[in-house]
Amino acid sequence: MKNIVKKAVVAIAAVGMLALPGLQAAMADTIKIGAILAVTGPSFLGVPEANTLKMLTDELNARGGLNGNKVELIIKDSGGVPEKAISFAKQLIEEEKVFAIIGPSTSGATMKIKNIAEQSETLLLSCAAAEVIVNPVAKWVFKTPQMDSDAVRKIYMEMNKMNISKIAVVVGNTGFGQAGKGQLLEIAPEYGIDVVISEVYDKAATDLSAVVAKLMANKDIQAVVNWSIVPAQSIIIKNIRQAGWDVPIFQSHGFGNIKFVQAAGDAAEGVIFPAGRLLVADVLPEDNPQKEVLVKYKNDYESKFKEDASTFGGHAYDAFKILCRAIEQVGVDKHKVREAIENMKGFVGTGGVFNFTPENHNGLGLDAFEMMTVKDGKFTLYQK
């Protein structure tokens, strides 16, 4: 029994030693920016986000930092798990005393720490897509990805042009898919569109030909909308084409990763989807305001990490840049920075041109999206 007590004392002593670095860190004189990203785990959008943030921080510090202050980036891997996001958020806020938090990558995790950010008055710039993050508006919470609802509108507008009115909706069972499904169903009546069937597939699905068969069986369907950020979105379009079904396929902005196109091979040809302009940076007309930003980010990222830049990294880019710009404007005061972001207008990011207001903590509108398609295995602008 004595052993147990002894062991417990040792354990506590160990915990005590862990406390020391925390103390030291709190005394350093830098601007600390925390990031909670799903680097591992089932939704791994965090990799390009983490890469982008590291790249930007290095770049910034090389240039002498923000208003002369060095920027320290602290990335925590949440594995996409909410309880860790909560723990990390509290850790970043209290121990690291970070100035702002970028992330989390997923809507579920963002929603879990929204209240923590509000309570502690810490800026939270989420890289997750769901509408609920900024609607209703929370004072300290912003997000950089475009609105799902705008993507849906873009798709429906295109459908109206194509005279499509009966559609099937399939989504992956991640937060992104669920949110998209909600928006697709909610907005459909506005555009006179009828969702005939909606299905949810598992994010780890390996073959979806059965569900394709189910959709095909319904002869009314004029188009299929797939909303997902997981590999299965390539599987479903492949299965549709293999079944010899020549239906127009729409995808969400979650398709904006060339890996999904490569995975789908020929089946990806002709898929229509809304996305930020990052994917088509090279072919944008020179007069597009985003052109310069996009090309630079894309080249920087691709030369540094030897992989294609994705829109997810772009969301982190925007969050970081918005934060920096606000700090440059008003200095290191979180209340002022918050206000500065809330009133920021015409900020050119990878996701679009941001115009924040106290009511709109996203700052992007319909024009943030372009309709795109896949041609010869590459993204291009969609032209009817």
Binding site: G79, P82, E83, I86, K112, I116, N173
Partner: protein, 353 residues
Amino acid sequence: MEFIKRYLPIAGLLGIVIGVQLLTSATDTAYYLTQLTMAAYYSLLIIGLCVLMGYAGQISLGHAGFFAIGGYLSAALTSNDFSAYRETAVMRFMDTAGLLLHRQSLYGEPLLNIQPWPACIIAVVVAIIIAFLLGIPVLKLKGHYLAMATLGFGIIIFRVALAAEFFGEADGISEVPPFQLFPGVSVTGDFSDRVQNYYIAWGLLLLGLVLLLNLIHSRVGRALRSIHGSEEASEAIGVNTARYKLYTFVISAAFAAIAGSFLTHYNGGIGPSEAGVMKSVRYVAIVAVGGMANLWGVLIMGILLNFMSLRGMFGTYDDAVFGVILILIMLFAPQGILSLRIRNIFRTKRNDT
């Protein structure tokens, strides 16, 4: 004598718990209490699982399922808006019984929820009923079959959490209100209530520990150990092995559900990952590391590993760390990591004398 032997370490632990709080508050590092609080709740589940695995000898690869039942039901009942059912008989009855909570969301919309107390009780009772109904057929199985059946149960709970709108699908449930235990004492993640919540969590854990220590040292605990030894012989001395296994399963499920319910209120939300297979595996890993039939060892490892994991000390290797721990322990110290040290200590001592 017996009495002192059993409760002295608990008093010691209580002293340490208080000591840690005083120390962290004095050194302005009270933020450690956040993860210690969360780790305490996970450990509550883990000591329950320890009695099931180590003493009754039944593996469960689905305990995250019970945790999720507790957490999700508490969250859904206290956070989902039941305004639409305001006029139904059940709701009216609950309203007059004072079980409903009228409140406003952060954004000023009216919400009708069930009070956390009844919600918690419902959650735990549901977990107990499910454990009971599941346990009757499942505990007849052995070895791989039992592992697979409990794993399957976990997967079904995970799927339900992921597919049901009531449980928030992939995003889970957020903005779960505080759980007021008594006036002035609530389970909540608010920064200002941290010390209080630290004591709630550890108080609950210590209570759970005392109950389980009592149990394993009682007639029932003896019978459970006999089941682990030989079911045949244990039947022959009149132990109703089926019932004992079932009750232990139910108790461990109840511990898991209580932990789930409290932690969800503390975190202010829950997501489907809490029901995931990796979580169940992690709990089994910690029980294995602690030494299966060693409540104290399991408790210490539960606190330590959860604390480290929650502080992100394993970085992107979180799952890998648990995998490696699992294998190393099972290969080299199947009696648990503490057994290694104890044995070595004894060995050197014996050599000295």
